[in-house]
Symmetry: C2
Subunit: 471 residues, 2 copies
Amino acid sequence: MVIIGGDAAGMSAASQARRLRNEDELEIVAFERGTFTSYSACGIPYWVGGEVDSRDELIARTPEEHRKRGIDLRLHTEVTEIDVDGRRVRTRTVDGAEGPSGPDGWTHFDKLVVATGARPVRPPFPGVDADGVHGVQSLTDGQSVLDDLAALERTDDGGRRTLRTVVVGAGYIGVEMSEALIRRGHRVTVLEQAEQPMSMLDPDMGALVREGMSGLGIEVVTGAAVREILTGADGRARAVVTDDGEYAADVVVLGIGVRPETSLARAAGLPVGESGGLLTDLGMRVLGQRDIWAGGDCVEVFDRVARRTRHLPLGTHANKHGQVIGTNAGGGYATFPGVVGTAVSKVCDLEIGRTGLLERQAAEAGLRYVTVTVESTSRAGYYPGAQAMHVKMLAEERTGRLLGTQIVGREGAGKRVDIAAVALTAGMTVEEMTGLDLGYAPPFSPVWDPVLVAARKAVSKVRARSGGGSA
Amino acid sequence: MVIIGGDAAGMSAASQARRLRNEDELEIVAFERGTFTSYSACGIPYWVGGEVDSRDELIARTPEEHRKRGIDLRLHTEVTEIDVDGRRVRTRTVDGAEGPSGPDGWTHFDKLVVATGARPVRPPFPGVDADGVHGVQSLTDGQSVLDDLAALERTDDGGRRTLRTVVVGAGYIGVEMSEALIRRGHRVTVLEQAEQPMSMLDPDMGALVREGMSGLGIEVVTGAAVREILTGADGRARAVVTDDGEYAADVVVLGIGVRPETSLARAAGLPVGESGGLLTDLGMRVLGQRDIWAGGDCVEVFDRVARRTRHLPLGTHANKHGQVIGTNAGGGYATFPGVVGTAVSKVCDLEIGRTGLLERQAAEAGLRYVTVTVESTSRAGYYPGAQAMHVKMLAEERTGRLLGTQIVGREGAGKRVDIAAVALTAGMTVEEMTGLDLGYAPPFSPVWDPVLVAARKAVSKVRARSGGGSA
């Protein structure tokens, strides 16, 4: 069993296969181009922000731990070609490696796992490769931002300097990095091409996030198309230029999103979808292949609500893929049932949750829907710390089937979206949701949970639209 | 439309019926024995603990507000008889009332709503009626505890005294009152007859609660059957006596639970279940009746997991019942689909959630099951504030159907039970649950949510028990 890529999907697959098959039954070789395995890329903003002390805390399992469990892990080893018919992959050692690396040549496989992940979008504007411009995809990226910040923050007299920082992109990674930079005491400007931050939310909910971010002292500039990063005589970035302005920057962070890293797989003729992500069956086998699996950020996943595949790179899916692949490659049986599009994030105490379809996604899927938005509170209104929470809900016209839920609020807002995520998975209607028996006590929820309040309002709207009464 | 009882179920029914039918179409009269309407009894511990400033904050809607909405509300008016065949109720004024009360005589009804609530269990041991012994069922009870505490706390020199307090019963109300008393700076002993606090949890999970409460400085004495409350020469309680000891007490709080208040309904021949709660159909109509509805703490609800009715008094159900009754009585159509037995509670920062069946309830229902317990964390392990969380899960043998979930932990533990509550409602198996797409980001959850970790372990156990492999 050969694995390409040593992060969540690949190494979960390796571990799970090893759980089922011992070393006499199954040899497992994993090739990783970089230095690290099984790390939490999602944790990088918290490491940069100082909430997580060290890089090592983000590493779930080290190369040594994997090797001890009987996985032949080769670091600094890049796979350069997949020969599907010949059942072999060609590799080469990237640079001086600690521990086992290589070989430089062909390795035979009986079973292959493609877990090549995603690569950050690095738009081709001038200056994007200047010093002081950082991605936040890998631990190496994280270390480089941290080192750069630490060096610039120090003043000659041992004091600390406030930096001007610009974050390009206001998606998850962008807003999380803006929190990290605010925590370090810097000035933060976020430049977003769209008209609202968080394009994984509908514009009206994104506006609430913008409002919340502004309240935290983060400057959010929307409709801002970056044209160029200006560099100084020292080769360092000094400002980011958009169509409308110029934003001085000591440090620039790129958080523009990622694309599936599938050049290798495509060169080998493996099938990819519209987003460039590999296409698999329910068992995570690459379509048309018997002994090649793929998982993690390099595949498209089945969206159970829109009933199509899409690229949705998230560590939690990658781990599940790895489990499924390892089980199947180990001779067991498992499937990945798809996703409903759940995600949570936060900027300081502002929490954001979403699941299911946005309005534009529902329309793209050919669905007619109603939307409602309610404002409720995280706890009983009279209980101390009760915070405003906005819940938006989409339901299909006529059937009343739940299509999506977005929540923006403070404490207790983010994970509340799980209620809707489970309801979506179960195919519930908003009417069925109004009867849900959710946990109630004054410190936890109003007597009608905000999600139920939204469901009730959605029921009325579905009925009104269907020509029924409001009862 | 005549309503007996002016709290959550009764007044929600009144409000909802009024929404559908104006005053020309439907006259609504509500009789309430006490002084208050639509209040949150669940909020009383937080009022006593000082987290909620005033009684009025616990009142969702005052008598005046109800009257303004066209509901003829009579306070201090007790219904003494229901004449089902004659379609009338007999009432009498209890004492001097502000605003409209009475009449003393018969009132005709076309539609009747029985929302008589529950009464606290007041065990018949000697001294239970002494001064200084308090229930916590009504706002009047809450006021009386507060007044008593305030008077005793004051020292002659204007200082503040630490009191010895004893709480009898370690259910929700008992543990919540123990938090309130600890917050006021008093010594608290909780006496519980069972072997563990929180008998709405399995004993192993109850043991975690006991441990947490002890850590908060609350003395928890289990297996403690109260025999007597000793009173002093002044007629005040001075100690609580159990089989094994004597516990000095300046104030005693009774939190032993409640029974459905259905004497009136039973006298009228309306059908009750094993617990004494009224039996209704899915539309909350009393069985065998066309124009009499019942809801709130005086009814038995359908347990969707055990598929039987039980008494489960909770404000959140009462509100839903009221909605359903009001809709149906107003000429619309609504049903109450039953409960899955979800409840959340907390003692200081210790959070407790449960849904579905306990082991003993599953056994009583004739179900064979497996149980698993996992310890995970509320956030990614490396994220600051990640707290241990224990999740116990019951799944049916062979089918793997989820039967119940109990969670004990700190922040983020209580409401996480909603995930399982929705899964129970949807009839999911633990295998289906392992594929749930739940919100993941390091500040919110480990990459495998604790509920998913438990579900995965449950899958293995179900398979092992069915003779399958562990894959």
